[in-house]
């Protein structure tokens, strides 16, 4: 008994050291990218990757872990983006404050929408969120306070207080840090009781309820949390594009679905998923647009659709699953050696 433990302990410590090393290297690389690559486009691709890591991870909490199909996350991105745009414009407050205000608003909205709707199951919830997204879109289009369909432009006046920077490096680091923060948060959640409970809810609500988990309460909590974090992504979004209008976030709830896809492609209910998803999808979209864009007639979106079908049919566990398989193989080999 003890011997095994000691053995595994040793193995674990070895793993740990390797892991620490790997993380260190990866962080280092990502940290020096702006220095080694002075190509703004590449940086901007990375910034988008980081933003979508935030959004995807946030969706993953409600969609992946809890298994509730929320299709209104574009609304929460919009909340974040608009609060970033509105604060300086109307109140002369620095958009940095949006990092606090936006999540609060988003959380409230998220709670308000999810508390009643999460009583419904499966596609009922999906449909309601979809409809909610549509209504919000139309309301934003006719809401004079936020300049309706015309949208809000954030003038390009670089300054720290305005959270606008003349070079993309700082934006890169900002989004990088936020993304890293999100990942850490979701790693903690994944390991926490909450993560476990949400997974159990996803698998069998009745059984979870029977085990003494208040399913509805946890679902609503997950949605609220998810909404809040999504809005943080929205703030960066606005500060980077420097322009917000309702169509950008809510037209045909395309963004909501895009966010969900990031998590799905990567792998649902895993910390790794959205990260992989973002690192694959965003560059892919960039380059397909460059390649197929010339063909016009939305050919790239045709491909996009096919890809979605294929994923849904043959690959529902996403990229993370494959990584795990490879990992298991390696592990197996390792054990084989050790014995």
């Amino acid at each position: 008994m003890d011997k095994i433990n000691l053995g595994s302990m040793l193995e674990k410590t070895r793993k740990k050291s390797i892991s620490v090393l790997l993380i260190a290297i990866a962080l280092l690389v990502l940290a020096v990218i702006p220095i080694i690559i002075d190509n703004d486009f590449t940086l901007s691709v990375f910034i988008w990757i980081f933003i979508y890591i935030i959004l995807g991870s946030a969706w993953n909490l409600i969609g992946g872990y809890t298994g509730q199909i929320a299709l209104a996350h574009g609304v929460f991105v919009a909340i974040g983006a608009y609060s970033a745009a509105v604060l300086p414009k109307y109140y002369g407050i620095t958009p940095w404050l949006a990092f606090i205000i936006a999540p609060l608003i988003a959380a409230c909205v998220g709670f308000a929408i999810s508390y009643p709707t999460l009583k419904l199951k499966g596609h009922y919830f999906a449909m309601t969120t979809l409809a909610f997204g549509f209504v919000t879109w139309k309301v934003f289009l006719h809401w004079d306070y936020i300049n309706g369909a015309a949208g809000l432009n954030i003038p390009f006046k670089p300054s720290f207080s305005a959270m606008i920077f003349s070079t993309p490096d700082i934006m890169y680091y900002l989004s990088f840090i936020l993304a890293a923060g999100t990942i850490i948060l979701f790693y903690i959640i994944d390991q926490s009781k909450l993560g476990m409970y949400l997974k159990s809810i996803n698998q069998d609500e009745e059984s979870a309820e029977n085990r003494g988990i208040n399913v509805h309460k946890y679902k609503v909590y997950a949605m609220t949390l998810s909404a809040a974090i999504t809005s943080i992504g929205g703030v960066i979004f606005a500060q980077y594009v420097l322009f917000v209008d309702p169509n950008l976030f809510m037209e045909g709830s395309l963004m909501s679905i895009r966010i969900a896809l990031i998590a799905i492609v990567g792998g649902l209910g895993t910390v790794l998923g959205p990260i992989l998803g973002a690192f694959v999808m965003i560059p892919l979209e960039e380059y397909t647009r460059a390649l197929l864009g010339g063909l016009g007639r939305g050919f790239s979106l045709f491909i996009y659709g096919i890809v979605i079908i294929v994923i849904a049919m043959y690959w529902p566990k996403g990229l993370a699953d494959i990584i795990c398989r490879i990992e298991k193989k390696i592990k197996g080999v390792y054990h084989g050696k050790s014995k």
């Binding site: 159990s200 059984s207 309820e209 029977n210 909590y221």
Partner: protein, 266 residues
């Protein structure tokens, strides 16, 4: 044990003339589905630390009764009092928190999670703050307890297998262990030995008895296997078409013509 202290703190409402050793009291419980009456004015009680058998032909309302007690069905009439607290129409999770744990007829562990994780989730959720769960992990006492119980039902070796990977009988044992995980006042088992091979049946029976002796846990068991139920239960109720047909010791029940008729008649 832990639940003993909770016991003191939790006993709030005292229902009049409640004998202290009655842990669960069911008054006039009625449940209808559209036309048919699944439960008709059922009266019964469970004494502390007893093993109570609940038998009856198919469709006699046994599982319906379970679902009413655990809050999955809202009863159409009557009252359920658990440890002096009226639990009628409460949320299943709240009832579970009060110390009733229940196993399903068809086992329902979380297939994607490992056996060990299944155990952890089944821990008691008493006074657990939802926000707190965001950053807290399962503490060592819980983990040790989970291991203890896994050892207790002797599936410790499967600890890190996904629940989907283990055999049917092992799932039964897992469910049993899960129900014991949350220091329950009362465990409700729905056909714990259905579809289990004889050796494992003995094991399960043995586990139940041991749990009852070791932790003084109260058991309320639905069972079709007469030998098993007669063997372990201290007292029995017989349900037939939604009504209590007979109450008494296994011997009394065994020798009651009405019961035989209910089972084998027509």
């Amino acid at each position: 044990m832990a639940n003993r202290n909770n016991d003191v703190s939790n006993t709030t409402i005292k229902v009049q003339n409640q004998e202290d050793n009655k842990i669960l009291q069911i008054h006039q419980l009625t449940k209808r589905f559209g036309g048919l009456t699944a439960l008709n004015k059922v009266n019964m009680h469970v004494k502390k630390s007893e093993i109570l058998g609940l038998i009856g032909p198919n469709g006699s309302g046994k599982t319906t009764l379970f679902n009413c007690v655990t809050g999955f069905y809202k009863p159409d009439g009557g009252q359920i009092i658990f440890r002096g607290e009226d639990t009628t129409g409460k949320r299943p999770s709240d009832i579970a928190k009060l110390g009733i744990s229940r196993s399903f007829q068809i086992t329902r562990p979380f297939d994607e999670l490992t056996v060990f994780e299944n155990m952890l989730i089944s821990q008691s959720h008493k006074n657990e703050s939802i926000v707190g769960t965001t950053y807290t992990r399962f503490d060592d006492t819980t983990r040790e307890k989970a291991d203890e119980l896994l050892k207790f039902v002797e599936i410790y070796k499967l600890r890190d297998h996904k629940a989907a990977e283990i055999s049917f009988g092992q799932r039964k044992l897992l469910e049993l262990a899960c129900t014991l995980m949350q220091d329950p006042e009362m465990v409700m088992l729905d056909e714990p030995t259905a579809g289990v091979n004889p050796t494992l049946i003995n094991k399960i029976v043995d586990d139940i008895v041991r749990a009852n002796e070791k932790f003084g846990t109260t058991f309320l068991i639905i069972e079709h296997n007469m030998n098993v139920i007669m063997g372990i239960s201290h007292r029995m109720y017989v349900l037939a078409s939604g009504e209590v047909l007979r109450e008494g010791t296994p011997e009394e029940v065994r020798n009651d013509p009405k019961v035989l008729e209910a089972y084998f008649g027509d």
